[in-house]
């Protein structure tokens, strides 16, 4: 094609003059190239890319095939196992079955942390973040629903009466003996079992539907075909939802409980998995690790494939004296280290170790500055759906 300008940079004035002189010829060349561009049918670019380009398609495929689909496969399987365990417990509410149900619940909740980044396509259709993890859960609404025996768990009013936080309440709201009592001899035992099963069934359904959307539903090819970096592109969705997820981690998992949004008044009951008390930190760490893995393009078995970090290196995104990708990776590690330094369960730590909790929050805040400001900027990822300025 006649698009190639022989020199490298038309830096000097002399060269600019030459550029002006030959301009009309170049005009016609550009015109030709552009006409060809207009007439050529869209979609796949048949030409093989020059060696020094970054294979974005391979990166997107790696995310879809090796990170996203496996994450939903695992999550869906764990949700299924959880539902089986909960059914077993409902059928035979023994202490052993309770422990099994709780273990399966924690397993699924953990797998959810690995999948929550990918809130686009099927997950967005299923509104997974909203349907599965709104907390604090409303014990009052849950109890009212149980007592009533009829409820619409799909209704917006029940968003804080379902999902994992509701399971957390249903499985942990009292000491083991009392809790077993709720499911055996208490007044609404049968209705409570039904509610427990309904909540877990809904999680299982939505997890399965999301997984199906990626596999049989054909979203994988939609995703791989959504090229570029505009809103709705694969890379655009990944970057924006990764940022949203880090923001949720910062705000919901630490910010609200530690009083950041309530004038310093701590709100321990706003921690994730409040009723089980001891899992909040584990879930928090898991989500930061998952977000880091997404950034790095790291699979669960530790294979570091082509990821956003490599893409940043390819566009030579700088930060200070070094690389932006390194700065972000280090900041993920700093955030994880800060969370690791919190000694007690978060529900207590917000009051007993405010400095450690604040430190974790601040490290996540620094991370967001890098991932939300520098990263989209360097990758040309847009966050608006609107027209922007240009000539």
């Amino acid at each position: 094609m006649g698009f190639i300008y022989p020199g490298l940079l038309p830096f000097s004035f002399k060269k600019q003059y030459i550029l002006m002189k030959f301009n009309f010829r170049k005009y016609s060349l550009v015109a030709l190239a552009s006409a060809a561009l207009l007439s050529s049918c869209s979609s796949s670019d048949g030409e093989s890319a020059p060696a020094d380009t970054y294979d974005r398609d391979a990166m997107v495929a790696h995310y879809a095939d090796n990170l996203i689909i496996p994450a939903y496969a695992t999550f869906s399987a764990k949700a299924e196992a959880m539902h089986t365990a909960i059914n077993a417990f409902a059928a035979t509410p023994t202490a052993v079955n309770l422990q099994a149900a709780r273990a399966a619940y924690l397993d699924a909740y953990t797998a959810w942390q690995d999948a929550s980044v990918f809130e686009f396509g099927p997950a967005s259709d299923q509104l997974l973040r909203t349907n599965l993890n709104i907390y604090p859960t409303s014990s009052a609404e849950i109890e009212a629903n149980i007592t009533a025996g009829t409820y619409d768990l799909q209704a917006a009013a029940n968003l804080d009466a379902k999902g994992f936080p509701a399971l957390d309440y249903l499985l942990y709201n009292a000491a083991d003996a009392t809790l077993l009592e709720q499911y055996t001899n208490a007044a609404n035992a049968a209705k409570r079992k039904k509610y427990l099963q309904d909540v877990s069934a809904l999680i299982k359904q939505r997890a399965a539907a999301t997984y199906q959307g990626w596999t049989n539903g054909g979203y994988t090819s939609t995703f791989k075909q959504a090229k570029g970096t505009a809103v709705g592109s694969a890379i655009g969705s990944l970057v924006n939802e990764l940022n949203q997820d880090i923001d949720n981690t910062k705000r919901n998992k630490i910010g609200f409980p530690s009083g950041r949004f309530s004038q310093g008044t701590t709100l321990p009951d706003r921690v994730e998995a409040y009723y089980s008390q001891s899992f909040s930190l584990e879930l928090l760490k898991r989500s930061i690790k998952a977000e880091k893995a997404v950034f790095m393009g790291m699979t669960t078995n530790g294979t570091n494939g082509p990821g956003l970090d490599d893409y940043l290196d390819y566009v030579k995104a700088p930060y200070g004296q070094g690389l932006l990708s390194d700065a972000i990776e280090q900041q993920f590690d700093a955030a994880l280290a800060a969370v690791n330094a919190i000694q007690e369960p978060l529900v207590q730590a917000v009051n007993t170790q405010p400095q450690a909790v604040t430190k974790a929050y601040d490290e996540l805040q620094k991370l967001i500055v890098l991932t939300k400001t520098d990263m989209p900027s360097a990758l040309g990822v847009t966050i608006t759906y609107n027209d922007s300025d240009g000539d």
Binding site: P50, G228, Q263, A317, D387, D391
Partner: protein
């Protein structure tokens, strides 16, 4: 000087170019408005937001509610149709200018140079007799028909278009653009999936080529379009240039508006033949004699237009009056045809402090702002002040009087790593928006400590 130029400016020229421009511009506006409505943007931009960011001095411009806004857009569409058909022309032109400009003044979040361009052209259209040739008004009142109009009525549009291009070109004579190929060096590689040209967009030298060519194009195209000998090639370049920008960037209707508006540079013959062709289709007949349009208000109009173009020529230079780097502070950035010059992204954390208790709370921006608004607030100082006042008001309504608002804002611009943008200790709610320089904007200093060192020390 105007006296000397007057014979030239008032000399009679063919009315065809002006009539064609009216039809094309009205048609493009109608299409733009329908597209805007079809995309649901009337609701997204002017109904659902909880707050708005009016321009300084135009705080009285408020959205009109869901029904009101849609009615306003329908009125705007009808006015654009009136422009296109030349029906009730003056009324249509005035209504179009007012409705369009009103909408643009509601929220500076949505500021685009090309919306400003539309407002300016609409204002100019109010002043010219574009409806007295090839229009329904002439069908209604045949005695109003003219074959010729004074030269200034056509010239002002060429001048305005030329000014837009030239200033857009001047703005590109910036080290970031010419020496770093920013922001194109970041933007072009995002389009490597495009057929044919895609594989080239990864190359740094292509970004440089685009930058230098873009600057050259903007600075020279008005002249090449004006010169008869170069006009055809220049217009081919207009098409190529704007098709490229349309393919590469998310800029809506603007490339198409420019592609058809620049037809006004073509000869009278060209436009007459164009109208002849259209008349063939519509079977309209026109008198064979000539008739001139006379506007009694011409002398005053000419002075007003001279004033308009003086303002147009000076406003883009107002940034000189402000300290600091224009791209960084954005003081004097708007209304200057600075397009596509910056990749600027910010992240803003706002904090509201109750002066009574001394306790501070972080704000979830999305509780107040739309995605677009949050994005703009994070880089534009005047909007930060407006937002701080909105927060102060909201907290006052919830029983916390005189709340103090500060913000930690990090901005990355044209490949420079993110850094603190404003003084994070300043109470923005105590600042008043004005045209005075904002002393709390931190300088764009390449040696500013990265956020790792700056954050968490307050």
């Amino acid at each position: 000087m105007l006296q000397k130029l007057k014979p030239y400016l008032t000399a009679q020229v063919s009315a065809a170019p002006l009539a064609v421009f009216r039809v094309i511009f009205g048609g493009m506006m109608l299409a733009s408005i329908l597209r805007f409505m079809a995309k649901g943007w009337v609701t997204d931009l002017y109904v659902t937001p909880k707050v708005y960011f009016p321009y300084y001095g135009f705080e009285w411009v408020q959205p009109l509610g869901e029904t009101g806004m849609h009615a306003l857009f329908i009125l705007m569409a009808l006015a654009a149709l009136g422009l296109m058909l030349g029906l009730f022309y003056r009324l249509s032109a005035v209504l179009f200018f007012l409705s369009f400009t009103y909408v643009e003044l509601i929220d500076k979040t949505n500021y685009l140079n090309h919306y400003y361009f539309v407002s300016v052209v609409a204002l100019l259209l109010v002043l010219v007799p574009a409806h007295r040739h090839f229009s329904l008004d002439v069908l209604r009142k045949p005695h109003t028909w003219v074959s010729h109009v004074p030269r200034w009525a056509v010239l002002i549009f060429k001048l305005q278009l030329g000014l837009v291009y030239f200033y857009a070109g001047l703005a590109k004579l910036h080290p970031d653009w010419l020496l770093e190929a920013m922001p194109l060096r970041y933007w072009l590689p995002a389009h490597t999936h495009l057929p044919l040209i895609g594989t080239w967009l990864d190359k740094a030298w292509i970004a440089y080529l685009f930058c230098w060519f873009g600057a050259f194009y903007d600075l020279t195209i008005p002249f090449f379009l004006s010169w008869r000998k170069s006009r055809l090639v220049a217009y081919a370049t207009v098409i190529v240039f704007h098709v490229l920008t349309a393919v590469l960037f998310q800029i809506g209707m603007f490339p198409y508006i420019m592609m058809v508006s620049t037809l006004i540079f073509f000869s009278e013959k060209f436009h007459e033949r164009l109208l002849q062709g259209l008349k063939g289709i519509t079977r309209a007949r026109t008198p064979a004699f000539q008739r001139y349009s006379h506007t009694t208000a011409q002398p005053i109009l000419l002075y007003l237009l001279a004033l308009h173009f003086a303002v147009q020529a000076l406003v883009p230079w107002r940034f000189i009056l402000y300290p600091g780097q224009l791209f960084w502070t954005e003081q004097g950035y708007r209304f200057s045809w600075r397009v596509m010059l910056m990749e600027k992204t910010g992240t803003a954390f706002f904090y509201v402090r109750d002066p009574k208790t001394g306790r501070e709370t972080e704000i979830n921006n999305r509780d107040y702002l739309t995605v677009n608004q949050e994005k703009q607030v994070a880089t534009q100082p005047d909007m930060m002040v407006q937002y701080a006042h909105l927060l102060k008001q909201d907290f006052a309504s919830r029983g916390i009087a005189n709340a103090e608002v500060r913000a930690e804002i990090y901005v990355a611009m044209n490949g420079r790593g993110s850094r603190l943008f404003i003084d994070p200790t300043v109470n923005l709610a105590a600042e008043k928006d004005s045209f005075l320089p904002k002393a709390w904007i931190l300088p764009l200093n390449p040696n500013t400590a990265p956020p790792q060192d700056a954050l968490g020390q307050n």
